[in-house]
Subunit: 220 residues, 2 copies
């Protein structure tokens, strides 16, 4: 294992910032890994590729979407062909339908497999301190457990954003010159951000709270 | 969450015994879950179905094999289309080529997703104390980490075989009347067990050490 790192890259604000941070502070060689697990917003994979290109690192996509994978996750709203994406804030009960149960353990298992196959010593995961209580797989207890499991595999799980909130991440990203105009957050996956779903609402807030201009084009 | 349990069922000796044990001692309702991740020995899926039927529990298969999944795992010998399965004992260096890196974290993530989708409170995993040092994802440190991560998801990871070896498992299985003639171990996946690969060698030893008759038909 050496100082190579696999970054789980969704193409959103957090993981894009993490990619730039890993390149600057962690590893000699960084690879962005994106996974098509059947998400409705496949537009994020395109964003991830562009962000990796802008960072000057290699990028790999695993296309794993299938009917059976959708079944394993219980057909939640976030996946293709299921119920529509609700509007509003993450705090709303309706947003629970966007939870893909245990998705992040699934993504981490693949990033781990990929890292071991490549002989990379790090998997980087952008869960952050502001992540929402409905997402159990972003909580500190979950992260600590996964860290311990990864340690047994001789892979270090790097989660530097666990002590930061979204506002701090955007501020850091501006210092790192992350091209936020290339990133994608919206769960709907239209041509532009809808501006209404939970992740769009959060995206707007992050730029506002950080006191920075929002480069995003939202639906009128 | 209630007393329903999802058992990761490969169709081999250990997980088949675990299925019968979970039904007797753990849960009101047990579901056997088998996953096609591209293993060469797909014959084990058929065995798993037969074992679940014999136990009188429901069975579900997730068919997830794909080129990209094989890529994520680095194309090891155990997967379709890769190098041939080596003969001999697990201790041999050549057996390392049968390691599918981080496979069990991947399988556990899916069992966890499935359990949460169903509202089941338990995931049962047959890693045992005799598991081989080359399989990092069967070691106590790995299991403890995964247990902690699962706890955050309100799912209990049940691993009663961690303090047992294969001989003890087979003895327990005989008490539970596990139909070992239906189980499948061989990595090659021919019509009958090859009798030469690491898992066949171990299977033979387990019955011998337990002082029990081996119901397996091996290749002449």
């Amino acid at each position: 294992m050496d100082r190579r790192a696999v970054v789980l890259l969704s193409g959103g604000i957090d993981s894009s910032t993490l990619l730039f941070l890993a390149k600057k502070r962690l590893a000699d060689e960084v690879l962005g890994l994106s996974i098509d697990y059947g998400q409705r917003h496949k537009r994020e994979l395109e964003a991830a590729e562009q962000v990796a290109k802008a960072a000057g690192v290699s990028w790999h996509a695993l296309r794993l979407a299938s009917k059976d994978l959708c079944t394993a996750f219980g057909n939640p709203a976030l996946l293709d062909g299921a119920q529509p994406i609700p509007h509003g804030n993450y705090a709303d009960v309706s947003m629970r339908s966007t939870v893909v149960p245990n998705r992040n353990m699934f993504l981490l298992s693949l990033a781990g497999a990929f890292a071991i196959s490549l002989g990379a010593g790090f998997v980087c995961y952008a869960a952050h301190g502001g992540d929402h209580p409905i997402y159990a797989d972003c909580r500190p207890g979950f992260i600590r457990g996964m860290e311990a499991a990864f340690k047994e595999l001789d892979v270090t799980l790097w989660t530097p954003f666990m002590t930061m909130d979204k506002r701090q991440i955007v501020k850091l990203g501006k210092e790192l010159a992350v091209p936020y105009d290339l990133t994608w957050s919206c769960y709907k996956g239209y041509a532009v951000h809808c501006g209404k779903c939970g992740t769009c609402v959060e995206r707007k807030e992050a730029f506002e709270l950080a006191g920075l201009g929002d480069p995003t084009i939202y639906e009128a």
